[in-house]
């Protein structure tokens, strides 16, 4: 695992705690809602999908990016529903378990979706949004 991947892991692992710390700031401040929004929308999903031993294959980069938000919001929605069902909701009760979950899974291997481990769909080099040198493929 290279330095960049470790850095991404580290950022994802602490993102929940940063979001939680941001809730100490005055209500409605962008410095408060922006980290919370980013973490709730992306944190748990990226933590689950991104850490792969050899980095994400090209086809899986798009997949990890696309699935991170829906998975994160699913977990956040289920967590919030559970807390209200047991009449135990508070910001701390909501964010701390999600942050702890993200930290824990960020240091575990990523979810074994086939594309992540063997590049199931995308050909090498085709799945990235990054710019590439023009090949013979025209507009593809």
């Amino acid at each position: 695992m290279n330095m960049t991947q470790n850095r991404i892991r580290g950022v994802v692992a602490v993102s929940g705690w940063v979001a939680f710390a941001a809730t100490l700031l005055p209500g409605g401040s962008p410095l408060r809602w922006l980290p919370v929004l980013l973490f709730v929308c992306l944190g748990p999903g990226l933590a689950l999908l991104h850490p792969q031993r050899q980095g994400l294959r090209p086809g899986a980069r798009l997949e990890a990016f696309a699935l991170a938000a829906p998975i994160s919001l699913s977990l956040a929605s289920l967590a919030a529903t559970f807390l209200f069902l047991v009449e135990g909701f508070s910001v701390t009760a909501f964010l701390v378990p999600l942050a702890a979950f993200s930290t824990a899974v960020a240091f575990l291997p990523g979810l074994p979706l086939p594309a992540a481990t063997r590049g199931a769909v995308e050909p090498e080099g085709a799945g990235s949004f990054r710019f590439r040198k023009r090949g013979p493929g025209g507009g593809r």
Binding site: L73, S77, F84, E87, F89, P112, L113, R140
Partner: protein
């Protein structure tokens, strides 16, 4: 953004980019050889054009915003309030997107940037400009969040007025927003409510790309499909509502299924480039039982969340998984069973009251195709703006379907490889036979069919031209596409604006009117009754857990015409004895009931005047934007004794 093109850019054909015979992948698989360059109509295509047009388009849009006079909207909603710069911005973005498409294979970042810009340009104006909630009914969702935060628990079995308990039975979206409201430290969801279409659109965009990329290797096709999806998504289901989130989760499950649930031994020929459409992606490699089982575990929380968020989407998901299970490629009964069991479990526990009630009404609604597929409650759209919006919506839907049909029948190889996408798009159609979903089924079926429709519509406009430049027919096809693509995108943009903004006068409510409603409801005692023509006005459901509601004009027009003959008597007969009742009639209700055809022309004014004149009701507050009347049954008795109530 940075491009790797350092030298002079090659000249290209207008509209649709060149598509040499063999892509990199094709060459790798030995499916063809690089073709000699063809003679082309050329236009300059410098690398700086994409960023320049993007900046110009967004610049025009920013300049246009302050000139949008939304407070004086009239018959045509926002349409005739949008300045020329706004329309110019959309045209520039479309032109820039078409230029960016030509480099889509090497620089997919630019089409992505344009798609994001289109999303913002189309849907952000209300979020930036409005000083109140867009869509009056969206404030109902704020009320639900507010109530959940207030009581701190969910009450799925509480028999609340107007079936409001349903929101506690499928609470996932509201509990999530309640958590966000507290974590953001804002007063309520109204603080960010108008931004929901942008946030949901940004989350949906990569999921759509993922789905389209599963079936198309040609990035031009992928981005054109995303562009068409955004333009054809005029149905307004992406506001701060459960269905907006549930829809994205639904697409997510489908994306995982389509990519990771291919059964071994299936789709053999669909991995052979010689057999595939040149733009198509080979079917994903098969996965074994263990891999699929792991994938089921991974997507189960998403399926579970869909069930927690929305009542209709799990049915759409099960329908989609069912049609996929009919194909050899995706015959995954286990996944279908898991999705079905999760839905059933939720419906029989949290959602039990409404689920059983709906089952009870199915006997009446089942098979009534025309009624189940009608839009809205009962009336016909009335007035220039709403009528134009209705016509534009239908024309847009037909246009996309016709384009999709051309590709489905004209590009059989692509249809074969992308058949699962076609099937999941058609899957919700039979639901017309089951239930009208409060007049919403038409919009929901359209929305769930849109991903596939947009993909095949794009396939009609971005033809595979591998080797085509060698033949006369191929050249003609390329020339046609060079015109058809920009033409169609402009037509779709022209259709989106009336479809999305033509009824905007119904959707914007000045803050003073909202405050009037809030005051009126706050003055009702617990157990009091609020009367209004329809529920489409801001704060209509404020204190919904303490106050009863009667939206008395949400019925067929003939019934309302009878009601208008003597509205005071009609309402008095419906108000339970002893109830403390208030009637709130606002400008937004006037526009809504006229536009949706619930009341005849001038009917709202008649209603207001007759109630004001009746001794059964006393006016307590009156403004140009609304009136509040209190029900005074005591005066009826007094008047009757002294010679007659009207």
């Amino acid at each position: 953004m940075q491009q790797h093109h350092q030298g002079p850019a090659p000249a290209r054909e207008v509209g649709v980019p060149a598509q040499p015979a063999a892509s990199g992948r094709e060459t790798r698989s030995g499916g063809g050889t690089p073709a000699p360059p063809a003679r082309r109509t050329t236009v300059p295509d410098p690398a700086w054009l994409s960023p320049a047009l993007l900046v110009l388009g967004l610049g025009l849009w920013v300049l246009a915003l302050p000139a949008i006079d939304f407070r004086t909207m009239d018959d045509y909603g926002l349409l005739d309030r949008l300045p020329a710069a706004f329309y110019a911005a959309l045209l520039v973005l479309t032109a820039g997107f078409l230029m960016a498409l030509r480099r889509a294979g090497t620089s997919p970042g630019w089409p992505l940037a344009y798609c994001v810009a289109l999303l913002v340009a189309l849907k952000a104006p209300p979020a930036v400009l409005y000083d109140s909630v867009r869509y009056p009914w969206a404030s109902k969702h704020d009320a639900v969040v507010d109530t959940i935060l207030g009581v701190g628990e969910l009450r799925p079995s509480a028999a609340l007025s107007g079936n409001m308990s349903a929101y506690d039975q499928w609470p996932g979206f509201f509990t999530l927003n309640a958590a966000l409201v507290r974590a953001f430290g804002v007063e309520g969801a109204t603080d960010y409510l108008n931004w929901a279409p942008i946030v949901l659109g940004l989350i949906a965009l990569p999921v759509l790309v993922l789905i389209y990329r599963t079936f198309a290797e040609d990035w031009r096709l992928v981005w054109t499909a995303v562009w068409i999806f955004q333009l054809a998504n005029w149905v307004g289901q992406d506001y701060l509502a459960p269905q907006g989130l549930a829809y994205i989760l639904h697409l997510t499950v489908l994306a995982v299924v389509l990519r990771h649930f291919v059964r071994p031994g299936s789709a053999g020929r669909l991995r052979d480039r010689a057999y595939l459409d040149p733009a198509a992606t080979a079917v994903p490699p098969p996965t074994d039982l263990r891999q699929r089982a792991i994938c089921v575990v991974i997507i189960s929380p998403v399926i579970f969340a869909i069930n927690a968020v929305h009542q209709l989407t799990p049915i759409m998901l099960c329908a989609a998984l069912f049609v996929l299970a009919l194909t050899r490629r995706y015959r995954n009964y286990g996944l279908l069973v898991v999705a079905g069991l999760l839905m059933l479990t939720w419906n029989l526990t949290m959602g039990r009251p409404l689920f059983l009630e709906t089952l009870g009404t199915l006997r009446d609604s089942i098979g009534r195709l025309t009624e189940n597929s009608r839009a809205g409650y009962a009336g016909q759209l009335t007035g220039p703006g709403p009528e134009l919006a209705g016509r534009a919506g239908i024309a847009m839907a037909l246009f996309v379907v016709v384009l999709a049909g051309i590709a489905v029948f004209g590009r059989r190889r692509l249809t074969r490889s992308a058949l699962p996408l076609l099937l999941v798009s058609i899957a919700p159609v039979p639901l017309f036979a089951v239930n009208d979903y409060g007049g919403e089924m038409l919009f929901r079926v359209y929305l769930f069919g849109l991903p596939g429709a947009a993909f095949f519509a794009a396939a009609a406009l971005v033809p595979a031209t591998a080797g085509a430049h060698r033949s006369r027919g191929g050249r003609a096809l390329r020339r046609t596409a060079a015109i058809a693509l920009p033409f169609s995108l402009v037509v779709l943009t022209a259709g989106f604006l009336p479809a999305y903004y033509g009824k905007e006068a119904m959707y914007y409510t000045p803050p003073a009117e909202t405050q009037l409603v809030t005051r009126a409801i706050d003055q009702l005692p617990e157990g009091g009754l609020l009367l209004a023509t329809a529920g489409s006005f801001p704060q209509a459901l404020h204190r919904y857990d303490e106050v009863e509601h009667w939206f008395f004009a949400e019925q067929e027009l003939p019934e309302n015409e009878k009601m208008l003959a003597d509205p005071a008597r009609y309402l008095a007969e419906g108000i339970p004895p002893g109830a403390k009742a208030r009637v709130v009639l606002t400008r937004t209700q006037d526009i809504y009931t006229a536009g949706e055809g619930l009341l005849p022309p001038g009917g709202f004014a008649v209603l207001r005047d007759r109630l004001k004149a009746s001794p059964l009701f006393r006016t307590v507050e009156e403004h140009p934007y609304g009136i509040v009347l209190v029900y005074t049954p005591a005066s009826t008795e007094t008047s009757a004794t002294s010679g007659g109530a009207s």
